[in-house]
Protein backbone atom coordinates (compact mmCIF):
# COMPACT_ATOMS: atom_id res chain seq x y z
CA UNK A 1 0.00 0.00 0.00
CA UNK A 2 1.44 3.33 -1.06
CA UNK A 3 1.84 5.69 1.86
CA UNK A 4 0.40 9.14 1.28
CA UNK A 5 1.80 11.67 3.68
CA UNK A 6 2.60 15.37 3.45
CA UNK A 7 2.49 17.45 0.29
CA UNK A 8 2.38 16.00 -3.23
CA UNK A 9 1.85 12.48 -1.93
CA UNK A 10 -1.06 11.75 -4.27
CA UNK A 11 1.14 12.65 -7.22
CA UNK A 12 3.67 10.29 -8.74
CA UNK A 13 6.95 10.29 -6.80
CA UNK A 14 8.89 13.49 -7.36
CA UNK A 15 11.96 13.31 -9.56
CA UNK A 16 15.25 14.69 -8.28
CA UNK A 17 14.86 17.76 -10.47
CA UNK A 18 11.45 18.40 -8.93
CA UNK A 19 12.76 17.86 -5.42
CA UNK A 20 15.57 20.33 -6.14
CA UNK A 21 13.08 22.96 -7.23
CA UNK A 22 10.89 22.43 -4.19
CA UNK A 23 13.94 22.78 -1.96
CA UNK A 24 14.99 25.93 -3.77
CA UNK A 25 11.53 27.33 -3.21
CA UNK A 26 11.98 26.77 0.53
CA UNK A 27 15.46 28.32 0.54
CA UNK A 28 14.31 31.35 -1.44
CA UNK A 29 11.67 31.95 1.19
CA UNK A 30 14.25 31.74 3.97
CA UNK A 31 13.03 28.43 5.31
CA UNK A 32 15.49 25.90 6.67
CA UNK A 33 15.49 22.68 4.68
CA UNK A 34 15.60 19.54 6.76
CA UNK A 35 16.01 15.87 5.83
CA UNK A 36 14.35 13.24 8.04
CA UNK A 37 13.94 9.49 7.84
CA UNK A 38 11.99 6.74 9.55
CA UNK A 39 10.96 3.13 9.12
CA UNK A 40 7.72 3.50 11.06
CA UNK A 41 5.18 4.54 8.45
CA UNK A 42 2.27 5.08 10.85
CA UNK A 43 0.59 8.41 10.03
CA UNK A 44 0.57 9.39 13.69
CA UNK A 45 4.34 8.96 13.90
CA UNK A 46 5.44 12.59 13.83
CA UNK A 47 8.85 11.99 15.34
CA UNK A 48 11.06 11.16 12.41
CA UNK A 49 14.79 10.98 12.88
CA UNK A 50 16.80 13.92 11.61
CA UNK A 51 19.57 13.49 9.09
CA UNK A 52 21.97 16.09 10.44
CA UNK A 53 20.86 19.54 11.43
CA UNK A 54 18.34 21.60 9.49
CA UNK A 55 20.25 23.56 6.87
CA UNK A 56 19.87 27.15 7.94
CA UNK A 57 22.55 28.92 5.98
CA UNK A 58 22.58 27.40 2.53
CA UNK A 59 21.81 29.41 -0.58
CA UNK A 60 21.34 26.69 -3.14
CA UNK A 61 19.37 23.47 -3.24
CA UNK A 62 22.42 21.55 -4.49
CA UNK A 63 23.68 21.51 -0.90
CA UNK A 64 20.47 20.00 0.42
CA UNK A 65 20.44 17.48 -2.43
CA UNK A 66 23.93 16.48 -1.36
CA UNK A 67 22.63 15.64 2.11
CA UNK A 68 19.65 13.83 0.65
CA UNK A 69 21.96 11.71 -1.50
CA UNK A 70 24.02 10.83 1.58
CA UNK A 71 20.89 9.95 3.50
CA UNK A 72 19.61 7.78 0.66
CA UNK A 73 22.92 5.96 0.59
CA UNK A 74 22.53 4.95 4.23
CA UNK A 75 18.75 4.73 4.62
CA UNK A 76 17.63 4.09 1.07
CA UNK A 77 15.31 1.34 2.31
CA UNK A 78 13.29 3.64 4.56
CA UNK A 79 10.98 6.62 4.21
CA UNK A 80 12.79 9.90 3.79
CA UNK A 81 11.05 13.26 3.81
CA UNK A 82 12.13 16.82 3.31
CA UNK A 83 10.60 19.58 5.37
CA UNK A 84 10.90 23.34 5.31
CA UNK A 85 10.98 25.21 8.62
CA UNK A 86 9.93 28.80 8.74
CA UNK A 87 11.37 30.57 11.75
CA UNK A 88 10.07 34.03 10.86
CA UNK A 89 7.06 33.94 13.24
CA UNK A 90 9.50 33.52 16.12
CA UNK A 91 9.01 29.81 16.49
CA UNK A 92 9.92 26.96 14.19
CA UNK A 93 6.96 25.95 12.13
CA UNK A 94 6.85 23.42 9.35
CA UNK A 95 5.61 25.05 6.17
CA UNK A 96 6.08 22.15 3.84
CA UNK A 97 6.88 18.48 4.15
CA UNK A 98 7.03 15.89 1.42
CA UNK A 99 8.25 12.35 0.91
CA UNK A 100 11.33 11.94 -1.23
CA UNK A 101 12.12 8.29 -0.73
CA UNK A 102 10.10 5.19 0.08
CA UNK A 103 10.95 1.51 0.53
CA UNK A 104 10.74 -0.71 -2.53
CA UNK A 105 7.90 -2.62 -0.97
CA UNK A 106 5.27 -1.12 1.30
CA UNK A 107 3.26 -3.86 2.98
CA UNK A 108 0.61 -1.48 4.28
CA UNK A 109 -1.57 -1.55 7.40
CA UNK A 110 -3.72 -4.00 9.21
CA UNK A 111 -6.97 -2.89 10.83
CA UNK A 112 -7.27 -4.24 14.35
CA UNK A 113 -10.52 -4.49 16.21
CA UNK A 114 -10.49 -5.02 19.92
CA UNK A 115 -13.52 -5.55 22.07
CA UNK A 116 -13.92 -2.93 24.75
CA UNK A 117 -16.30 -2.93 27.69
CA UNK A 118 -19.83 -3.85 26.66
CA UNK A 119 -20.21 -4.28 22.92
CA UNK A 120 -17.80 -1.40 22.26
CA UNK A 121 -15.29 -1.93 19.43
CA UNK A 122 -11.93 -0.11 19.38
CA UNK A 123 -10.30 0.23 15.96
CA UNK A 124 -6.65 0.82 15.36
CA UNK A 125 -4.24 0.47 12.45
CA UNK A 126 -0.90 -1.21 12.69
CA UNK A 127 1.78 -1.27 10.00
CA UNK A 128 2.78 -4.76 8.97
CA UNK A 129 6.32 -3.47 8.71
CA UNK A 130 6.27 -2.46 12.39
CA UNK A 131 6.02 -6.09 13.44
CA UNK A 132 9.71 -6.40 12.88
CA UNK A 133 12.22 -4.56 15.05
CA UNK A 134 13.36 -1.11 14.08
CA UNK A 135 16.11 -1.07 11.49
CA UNK A 136 15.15 -4.37 9.85
CA UNK A 137 11.61 -3.53 8.82
CA UNK A 138 12.11 -3.10 5.13
CA UNK A 139 14.96 -5.54 4.60
CA UNK A 140 13.86 -8.64 2.77
Amino acid sequence: MRITQGCFSFLPDLTDAQITRQMQYCIDRGWAVNVEFTDDPHPRNTYWEMWGLPMFDIRDAAAAMLELAECRKVYGDRYIRVSGFDSSPGWESVRISFLVNRPAEEPGFRLERSEGPGRNLVYTTRAYAADRPEGSRYRS
Binding site: I58, R59, D60, A61, A62, A63, L66, E67
Partner: protein
Protein backbone atom coordinates in the same frame (compact mmCIF):
# COMPACT_ATOMS: atom_id res chain seq x y z
CA UNK B 1 31.16 15.78 -33.54
CA UNK B 2 28.01 15.28 -31.52
CA UNK B 3 24.69 14.35 -33.04
CA UNK B 4 23.35 17.85 -32.43
CA UNK B 5 26.29 19.43 -34.20
CA UNK B 6 25.80 17.23 -37.23
CA UNK B 7 22.22 18.42 -37.73
CA UNK B 8 23.01 22.10 -37.21
CA UNK B 9 23.16 24.40 -40.18
CA UNK B 10 26.61 26.06 -40.04
CA UNK B 11 25.12 29.17 -41.60
CA UNK B 12 22.98 30.04 -38.58
CA UNK B 13 24.11 33.42 -37.29
CA UNK B 14 24.42 34.38 -33.67
CA UNK B 15 24.75 37.93 -32.47
CA UNK B 16 27.29 37.91 -29.65
CA UNK B 17 26.70 41.61 -28.96
CA UNK B 18 23.07 40.89 -28.32
CA UNK B 19 24.07 37.95 -26.18
CA UNK B 20 26.40 40.20 -24.18
CA UNK B 21 23.70 42.79 -23.67
CA UNK B 22 21.26 40.13 -22.59
CA UNK B 23 23.49 38.73 -19.87
CA UNK B 24 24.52 42.25 -18.81
CA UNK B 25 28.03 40.99 -18.24
CA UNK B 26 29.35 44.02 -20.08
CA UNK B 27 28.13 46.21 -17.22
CA UNK B 28 30.13 44.26 -14.67
CA UNK B 29 33.20 44.30 -16.88
CA UNK B 30 32.93 48.04 -17.44
CA UNK B 31 32.37 48.57 -13.76
CA UNK B 32 35.46 46.48 -13.10
CA UNK B 33 37.41 48.73 -15.46
CA UNK B 34 36.15 51.93 -13.89
CA UNK B 35 36.16 51.12 -10.21
CA UNK B 36 39.44 49.25 -10.01
CA UNK B 37 42.66 51.14 -10.58
CA UNK B 38 45.43 49.46 -12.55
CA UNK B 39 45.43 45.63 -12.66
CA UNK B 40 45.51 45.68 -16.45
CA UNK B 41 46.61 42.03 -16.88
CA UNK B 42 43.91 40.88 -14.46
CA UNK B 43 41.19 42.78 -16.27
CA UNK B 44 42.38 41.38 -19.56
CA UNK B 45 42.26 37.82 -18.26
CA UNK B 46 38.80 38.32 -16.81
CA UNK B 47 37.58 39.68 -20.13
CA UNK B 48 39.03 36.63 -21.84
CA UNK B 49 37.38 34.28 -19.36
CA UNK B 50 34.07 36.12 -19.74
CA UNK B 51 34.30 35.95 -23.53
CA UNK B 52 35.05 32.24 -23.41
CA UNK B 53 32.11 31.62 -21.11
CA UNK B 54 29.79 33.71 -23.24
CA UNK B 55 30.74 31.74 -26.34
CA UNK B 56 30.39 28.51 -24.38
CA UNK B 57 26.93 29.57 -23.29
CA UNK B 58 25.82 30.00 -26.88
CA UNK B 59 27.42 26.71 -27.86
CA UNK B 60 25.65 24.94 -25.02
CA UNK B 61 22.35 26.34 -26.18
CA UNK B 62 22.97 25.05 -29.66
CA UNK B 63 23.94 21.67 -28.26
CA UNK B 64 27.57 21.84 -29.33
CA UNK B 65 28.94 21.26 -25.82
CA UNK B 66 27.25 19.49 -23.01
CA UNK B 67 29.79 19.32 -20.21
CA UNK B 68 30.17 22.08 -17.67
CA UNK B 69 33.48 23.91 -18.11
CA UNK B 70 36.02 23.89 -15.31
CA UNK B 71 35.90 27.31 -13.74
CA UNK B 72 38.06 26.93 -10.66
CA UNK B 73 40.69 29.63 -10.48
CA UNK B 74 43.73 30.64 -8.58
CA UNK B 75 44.49 34.26 -7.79
CA UNK B 76 48.09 34.89 -6.89
CA UNK B 77 49.61 38.15 -5.81
CA UNK B 78 50.95 40.14 -2.92
CA UNK B 79 48.65 41.32 -0.13
CA UNK B 80 46.40 44.23 -0.89
CA UNK B 81 46.39 43.77 -4.67
CA UNK B 82 42.63 43.35 -4.90
CA UNK B 83 42.21 39.57 -4.97
CA UNK B 84 39.12 39.51 -2.78
CA UNK B 85 37.54 42.45 -4.60
CA UNK B 86 38.07 40.83 -7.97
CA UNK B 87 36.72 37.51 -6.63
CA UNK B 88 33.55 39.33 -5.65
CA UNK B 89 33.18 40.69 -9.20
CA UNK B 90 34.00 37.28 -10.62
CA UNK B 91 31.11 35.79 -8.66
CA UNK B 92 28.86 38.43 -10.20
CA UNK B 93 30.12 37.73 -13.72
CA UNK B 94 29.66 33.97 -13.32
CA UNK B 95 26.18 34.55 -11.98
CA UNK B 96 25.17 36.70 -14.93
CA UNK B 97 26.55 34.18 -17.38
CA UNK B 98 24.60 31.45 -15.64
CA UNK B 99 27.57 29.49 -14.33
CA UNK B 100 26.86 30.26 -10.68
CA UNK B 101 23.19 29.97 -9.84
CA UNK B 102 23.20 32.31 -6.84
CA UNK B 103 26.37 34.29 -7.40
CA UNK B 104 27.30 34.77 -3.76
CA UNK B 105 30.85 34.66 -2.45
CA UNK B 106 31.84 32.70 0.62
CA UNK B 107 35.26 33.81 1.79
CA UNK B 108 37.11 31.41 4.06
CA UNK B 109 40.57 30.69 5.41
CA UNK B 110 42.16 27.55 6.83
CA UNK B 111 40.41 28.01 10.18
CA UNK B 112 36.98 27.66 8.59
CA UNK B 113 37.83 24.41 6.85
CA UNK B 114 40.16 22.50 9.12
CA UNK B 115 39.02 21.08 12.43
CA UNK B 116 40.83 20.81 15.71
CA UNK B 117 40.50 17.13 16.41
CA UNK B 118 40.03 13.87 14.55
CA UNK B 119 36.68 13.74 12.79
CA UNK B 120 36.09 17.46 13.07
CA UNK B 121 37.46 18.45 9.68
CA UNK B 122 35.11 16.61 7.33
CA UNK B 123 31.83 18.03 8.71
CA UNK B 124 33.37 21.47 8.97
CA UNK B 125 34.59 21.47 5.38
CA UNK B 126 31.31 20.04 4.14
CA UNK B 127 29.38 22.72 5.99
CA UNK B 128 31.35 25.44 4.23
CA UNK B 129 31.01 23.71 0.87
CA UNK B 130 27.26 23.47 1.35
CA UNK B 131 27.10 27.13 2.20
CA UNK B 132 29.00 28.01 -0.97
CA UNK B 133 26.93 25.81 -3.30
CA UNK B 134 25.55 27.81 -6.18
CA UNK B 135 28.19 30.47 -5.69
CA UNK B 136 31.90 30.97 -5.34
CA UNK B 137 34.09 29.62 -2.55
CA UNK B 138 37.06 31.91 -2.02
CA UNK B 139 39.87 30.30 -0.04
CA UNK B 140 42.26 32.99 1.08
CA UNK B 141 45.87 31.94 1.75
CA UNK B 142 45.04 28.47 0.53
CA UNK B 143 48.60 27.17 1.02
CA UNK B 144 48.01 27.05 4.78
CA UNK B 145 45.79 24.05 4.13
CA UNK B 146 48.86 22.00 3.43
CA UNK B 147 51.41 21.72 6.20
CA UNK B 148 54.16 19.35 5.08
CA UNK B 149 56.04 19.70 8.36
CA UNK B 150 53.23 18.00 10.28
CA UNK B 151 52.10 14.75 8.78
CA UNK B 152 49.17 14.45 11.16
CA UNK B 153 47.83 17.81 10.11
CA UNK B 154 44.10 17.71 9.35
CA UNK B 155 44.54 20.06 6.42
CA UNK B 156 45.12 17.11 4.13
CA UNK B 157 41.63 15.84 4.88
CA UNK B 158 40.11 19.18 3.92
CA UNK B 159 42.15 19.14 0.72
CA UNK B 160 40.84 15.70 -0.21
CA UNK B 161 37.21 16.71 0.31
CA UNK B 162 37.77 19.92 -1.65
CA UNK B 163 39.35 18.09 -4.56
CA UNK B 164 36.50 15.63 -4.68
CA UNK B 165 33.81 18.31 -4.71
CA UNK B 166 35.74 20.43 -7.22
CA UNK B 167 35.64 17.47 -9.56
CA UNK B 168 32.17 16.04 -9.03
CA UNK B 169 30.15 19.21 -8.48
CA UNK B 170 31.68 21.53 -11.00
CA UNK B 171 28.31 22.95 -11.97
CA UNK B 172 27.34 23.69 -8.37
CA UNK B 173 30.42 25.39 -7.07
CA UNK B 174 33.38 27.45 -8.25
CA UNK B 175 36.48 27.45 -6.06
CA UNK B 176 38.97 30.31 -6.13
CA UNK B 177 42.27 29.78 -4.33
CA UNK B 178 44.20 32.88 -3.40
CA UNK B 179 47.57 33.68 -1.90
CA UNK B 180 51.13 34.83 -2.41
CA UNK B 181 52.55 33.68 -5.73
CA UNK B 182 55.63 31.87 -4.43
CA UNK B 183 53.85 29.96 -1.67
CA UNK B 184 50.96 29.02 -3.95
CA UNK B 185 53.52 27.60 -6.34
CA UNK B 186 54.88 25.33 -3.61
CA UNK B 187 51.34 24.41 -2.66
CA UNK B 188 50.46 23.38 -6.21
CA UNK B 189 53.69 21.41 -6.56
CA UNK B 190 52.91 19.35 -3.49
CA UNK B 191 49.22 18.99 -4.42
CA UNK B 192 49.20 18.31 -8.16
CA UNK B 193 45.51 17.48 -7.96
CA UNK B 194 44.73 21.15 -7.48
CA UNK B 195 46.77 22.37 -10.40
CA UNK B 196 45.04 20.05 -12.84
CA UNK B 197 41.59 21.05 -11.58
CA UNK B 198 42.20 24.76 -11.90
CA UNK B 199 41.48 26.25 -15.28
CA UNK B 200 42.52 29.84 -14.82
CA UNK B 201 45.62 31.08 -13.05
CA UNK B 202 45.45 34.83 -12.67
CA UNK B 203 48.42 36.78 -11.38
CA UNK B 204 47.89 40.11 -9.61
CA UNK B 205 50.74 42.56 -10.10
CA UNK B 206 51.82 45.08 -7.46
CA UNK B 207 50.48 48.59 -7.86
CA UNK B 208 52.62 51.44 -9.16
CA UNK B 209 53.00 54.55 -6.99
CA UNK B 210 50.70 56.52 -9.27
CA UNK B 211 48.05 53.82 -9.08
CA UNK B 212 48.26 53.75 -5.31
CA UNK B 213 47.74 57.48 -5.27
CA UNK B 214 44.67 57.12 -7.48
CA UNK B 215 43.38 54.44 -5.12
CA UNK B 216 43.90 56.78 -2.17
CA UNK B 217 41.89 59.50 -3.89
CA UNK B 218 39.03 57.07 -4.50
CA UNK B 219 39.06 55.85 -0.94
CA UNK B 220 38.94 59.41 0.34
CA UNK B 221 36.20 60.33 -2.06
CA UNK B 222 34.10 57.38 -0.93
CA UNK B 223 34.41 58.56 2.65
CA UNK B 224 33.69 62.21 1.85
CA UNK B 225 37.23 63.52 2.35
CA UNK B 226 39.72 65.20 0.10
CA UNK B 227 43.40 66.12 0.12
CA UNK B 228 44.59 69.69 0.31
CA UNK B 229 47.19 70.48 -2.39
CA UNK B 230 49.91 70.26 0.26
CA UNK B 231 48.63 66.89 1.46
CA UNK B 232 48.66 65.53 -2.08
CA UNK B 233 52.30 66.37 -2.37
CA UNK B 234 53.13 64.83 1.00
CA UNK B 235 51.11 61.71 0.30
CA UNK B 236 53.06 60.99 -2.87
CA UNK B 237 56.25 61.07 -0.80
CA UNK B 238 54.55 58.91 1.78
CA UNK B 239 53.73 56.19 -0.76
CA UNK B 240 57.31 56.02 -1.96
CA UNK B 241 58.61 55.90 1.61
CA UNK B 242 56.08 53.32 2.73
CA UNK B 243 56.91 51.01 -0.15
CA UNK B 244 60.52 50.83 0.98
CA UNK B 245 59.47 49.60 4.41
CA UNK B 246 58.69 46.03 5.43
CA UNK B 247 55.14 44.64 5.51
CA UNK B 248 54.04 46.81 2.64
CA UNK B 249 50.58 45.62 1.63
CA UNK B 250 49.68 47.75 -1.41
CA UNK B 251 46.15 49.15 -1.23
CA UNK B 252 45.66 47.87 2.32
CA UNK B 253 48.63 49.93 3.54
CA UNK B 254 47.12 52.94 1.81
CA UNK B 255 43.80 52.41 3.54
CA UNK B 256 45.50 52.12 6.91
CA UNK B 257 47.53 55.26 6.26
CA UNK B 258 44.37 57.17 5.37
CA UNK B 259 42.63 55.90 8.48
CA UNK B 260 45.47 57.21 10.61
CA UNK B 261 45.48 60.50 8.72
CA UNK B 262 41.76 60.88 9.45
CA UNK B 263 42.50 60.25 13.08
CA UNK B 264 45.12 62.99 13.14
CA UNK B 265 42.84 65.33 11.23
CA UNK B 266 40.09 64.81 13.77
CA UNK B 267 42.58 65.50 16.53
CA UNK B 268 43.78 68.66 14.82
CA UNK B 269 40.24 69.93 14.29
CA UNK B 270 39.42 69.18 17.89
CA UNK B 271 42.34 71.31 19.03
CA UNK B 272 41.34 74.18 16.74
CA UNK B 273 39.46 76.90 18.64
CA UNK B 274 36.40 78.52 17.11
CA UNK B 275 33.92 77.39 14.48
CA UNK B 276 34.84 74.99 11.66
CA UNK B 277 33.87 75.18 8.04
CA UNK B 278 32.53 72.22 6.14
CA UNK B 279 35.59 72.48 3.93
CA UNK B 280 37.84 72.01 6.91
CA UNK B 281 35.88 68.97 8.00
CA UNK B 282 36.41 67.41 4.60
CA UNK B 283 40.04 68.28 4.05
CA UNK B 284 43.06 66.27 5.07
CA UNK B 285 46.01 68.62 5.26
CA UNK B 286 49.73 68.11 4.89
CA UNK B 287 50.57 67.95 8.61
CA UNK B 288 48.03 65.13 9.09
CA UNK B 289 50.20 62.94 6.91
CA UNK B 290 53.56 64.45 7.76
CA UNK B 291 53.15 63.33 11.35
CA UNK B 292 53.22 59.72 10.21
CA UNK B 293 56.06 57.63 11.59
CA UNK B 294 56.81 56.50 8.05
CA UNK B 295 57.99 59.99 7.21
CA UNK B 296 59.89 60.63 10.42
CA UNK B 297 63.35 59.25 11.06
CA UNK B 298 62.18 57.23 14.00
CA UNK B 299 59.83 55.30 11.76
CA UNK B 300 62.53 54.59 9.24
CA UNK B 301 64.73 53.15 11.92
CA UNK B 302 62.40 50.62 13.51
CA UNK B 303 60.23 50.25 10.41
CA UNK B 304 57.62 48.20 12.20
CA UNK B 305 54.57 50.13 11.23
CA UNK B 306 51.90 47.84 9.76
Amino acid sequence: MSAAAATLDPAITIDLRHELAETRVGEVLDELDHTLVGLAPVKLRIRQVAALLLVDRVRTRLGLVNSAPTLHMSFTGNPGTGKTTVALRMADILHRLGYARRGHLVSVTRDDLVGQYIGHTAPKTKEILKKAMGGVLFIDEAYYLYRPENERDYGQEAIEILLQVMETQREDLVVILAGYASRMETFFTSNPGFRSRIAHHIDFPDYQDGELFAIALRMLDAQGYRFSPAAEEVFRTYIAARRAQPHFANARSIRNALDRARLRQANRLFATPGALTVGELMTIDGPDILASRVLTDAGRLNGSQP
